[in-house]
């Protein structure tokens, strides 16, 4: 690999990094299509894709498996990884802190609390809900929970009409702790079966991918990622500090509100369908920054691509390691992501 030594740091050109991101995503998509409880060979996959394009749907087993089970799952994985990766980059840029992640503003803990309440108390308090909302009950509750808690953190960080990001950070930590305690209380109340459901939800899974949900989540994430890319230049300026950015003409307040909104919608929609997928939001932006430098015009799309690739890679392993059973995805994202991260850290940061 050709690496440009740039004074203090080796960096790869943005085009190369984004190209590599696309390639990585394509590879993990193909690998993810083929592997699973029902193996589809690359040749079979090719035939299925040709059939699809030709419009003649052959009811072969591999066609059925791919179209009804694997493709929605892969698409949900792409959406989840892209949303988490890009939102992580947005939050780190906004907080000017490389330790920030989407969970910081309460998106995940809100979803988790609402999911826990639905699992434990839902049947008790709202016995009619599963009948009216069906399988959407948990998803809708978790999405509402993530939006509500994020809104609470956002409102708590308002002071004199300005969003104080330092305050938002602390409010986020506090509210996350509160939600964690609430969830803890729910696990105390829960039956063994409910407890197991909560636990699995907290570890995340793409197993719930149904076309209806996938279509919805993918559209939300596509819009959010597209809109998020427009924040690249303002976020670069915000690296100088909010005051300096404002002096450069950046509408800082609007950027903050927009970044929080996009994160809440994208990560909220994803988390509601998949449960909590940790680690991607924190690590994908770091990896891109290590390789390409901190310019958000590369970091935002790069984190979305890498996040998606990492989730697909982790999910392929989750589906095949103990097949026909499945490992929880949240376990695998760390297993796949950490070595990748450490490798980049060693390779690109020889000075540390």
């Amino acid at each position: 690999m050709k690496i440009v030594q740039h004074g203090d740091h080796r960096r790869l050109p943005a085009a190369l990094v984004l190209g590599a991101g696309v390639l990585l995503l394509a590879l993990s998509f193909v690998a993810g299509s083929a592997r699973g409880a029902y193996a589809i060979s690359p040749l079979q996959l090719w035939n299925v894709l040709l059939d699809m394009l030709g419009g003649s749907a052959q009811p072969t087993p591999e066609h059925l498996v791919f179209m009804n089970i694997r493709l929605p799952r892969l698409l949900l994985g792409v959406a989840a990884g892209a949303a988490l990766g890009m939102s992580g980059a947005l939050m780190q840029g906004l907080f000017r802190n490389p330790l920030a992640d989407p969970g910081l503003i309460g998106v995940s803990s809100g979803a988790a609390l609402a999911a826990g309440m639905t699992i434990v108390l839902g049947s008790l308090w709202f016995p009619d809900m599963p009948r009216t909302l069906g399988s959407w009950t948990l998803v809708a509750a978790a999405f509402a929970g993530s939006l509500l808690v994020t809104m609470l953190v956002y409102v708590l960080s308002q002071q004199d009409g300005v969003t104080r990001v330092g305050m938002m950070l602390l409010a986020g930590v506090a509210i996350n702790a509160l939600a964690g305690a609430g969830l803890g209380y729910l696990t105390f109340l829960a039956t063994d079966e409910q407890l197991r459901n909560i636990q699995f939800w907290l570890l995340g899974s793409l197993g719930g991918a149904r076309w209806s949900a996938v279509a919805l989540v993918c559209s939300v994430v596509a819009v959010a990622v597209g809109a998020g890319l427009a924040l690249a230049k303002p976020l670069n300026a915000i690296a100088l500090g909010e005051a300096q950015a404002a002096l450069l003409g950046v509408p800082v307040e609007r950027i903050k509100r927009f970044a929080v909104l996009l994160t809440a919608l994208a990560v909220g929609a994803v988390t509601a369908t998949t449960g909590i997928i940790g680690f991607i939001g924190l690590v994908a932006p770091h990896c891109v920054r290590l390789v390409a430098g901190p310019d958000h015009r590369t970091v935002l799309p790069g984190s979305a691509l890498l996040g998606a690739a990492l989730v697909l890679a982790a999910d392929s392993v989750a589906r095949t390691m103990v097949k026909p059973a499945e490992l929880p995805l949240g376990v695998l994202t760390a297993f796949v992501g950490v070595p990748f991260f450490l490798l980049l850290l060693r390779h690109f940061r020889s000075r540390l």
């Binding site: 300096q244 003409g249 920054r289 430098g293």
Partner: protein
């Protein structure tokens, strides 16, 4: 010391003006009824002891702080009535200290100065950035990560960013401004002079208005046309620097005895001072 300077006749277009402006925070007043006019094409030094209100005055001029009473006007129009985008193309500011997050290189930081011009870029943006780095002698550092540089080098990078921001005259020829809060604080002796020579040249050759907070009165005497002296949140003197900065004024405001000496060499005739160490309190 004359508290009010004679108003020279100048078109409002070239004026940044604070009129009866005050800033109050709970329990105390940071600046009281300050009235000062800054003129484009001149270097104005903002002087005064620590805590006199220099940075407060600067934050009024940059628009980061709103005055509790009085007005701040640029080109005859309230500062707050200018669109932030338009303002960013007219005036650039360097803060006392700017912490840059992440590992941006020097060049990337200077490029951020061009942010306000992103919709209507100049014909050669890269040249502007390059020349701004040359002007403050940081070109050789351009691929270094900013946060690995020394304090003085960082200060020069941020000045280059400010220069890049207001590099060329705007289409309507409105006056441009450089607002610098202690620009020389971290610089070595040579670079202190170089930086002030540079902004001095921008003022006289390009008509840019320069407002700089300085602590070194000799630098102020040498490089500023006018000065504003603050003490305890009040303007206690303003006008031509050589007129205002008399030994009596220095004694009164800073409590330091100043002996005038005449500078040798290039700036013959510029008054400079030798300062006596203040008597230690018993």
């Amino acid at each position: 010391m004359n508290a009010r300077n004679q108003t020279d006749f100048l078109p409002l277009a070239g004026m940044l003006e604070v009129a009866g402006a005050g800033v109050q925070v709970p329990g105390r007043s940071l600046l009281q009824a300050a009235s000062v006019q800054f003129i484009a094409g001149q270097v104005t030094a903002v002087l005064g002891p620590n805590g006199a209100g220099k940075s407060t005055l600067m934050s009024l001029l940059t628009g980061q702080r709103q005055s509790s009473h009085g007005h701040v006007r640029l080109a005859g129009k309230a500062l707050s009535a200018h669109a932030p985008d338009e303002l960013a193309r007219l005036r650039a500011c360097v803060a006392q200290e700017t912490q840059v997050a992440f590992e941006f290189t020097v060049r990337e930081v200077v490029e951020l100065g061009r942010y306000p011009h992103r919709r209507k870029p100049s014909l050669n943006e890269a040249d502007v950035v390059q020349q701004a780095m040359q002007a403050t002698a940081v070109e050789h550092l351009q691929h270094r990560v900013l946060n690995t540089l020394s304090g003085g080098e960082k200060a020069r990078v941020h000045l280059a960013r400010a220069l890049a921001q207001v590099w060329a005259p705007s289409q309507d020829q409105a006056a441009r401004w450089l607002l610098l809060d202690e620009p020389t604080a971290a610089l070595d002796l040579q670079h202190q002079h170089r930086m002030l020579q540079l902004v001095r040249a921008w003022a006289s050759a390009q008509g840019v208005g320069v407002v700089a907070v300085l602590h070194d009165l000799n630098l102020a005497l040498r490089y500023s046309d006018r000065c504003v002296v603050l003490r305890d949140g009040q303007v206690v003197g303003s006008g031509a620097t050589a007129d205002v900065l008399t030994p009596a004024c220095i004694q009164e405001v800073w409590g330091v005895v100043a002996h005038p000496v005449l500078a040798q060499g290039g700036a013959v005739g510029t008054r400079q001072y030798l300062f006596e160490a203040p008597v230690q309190a018993a």
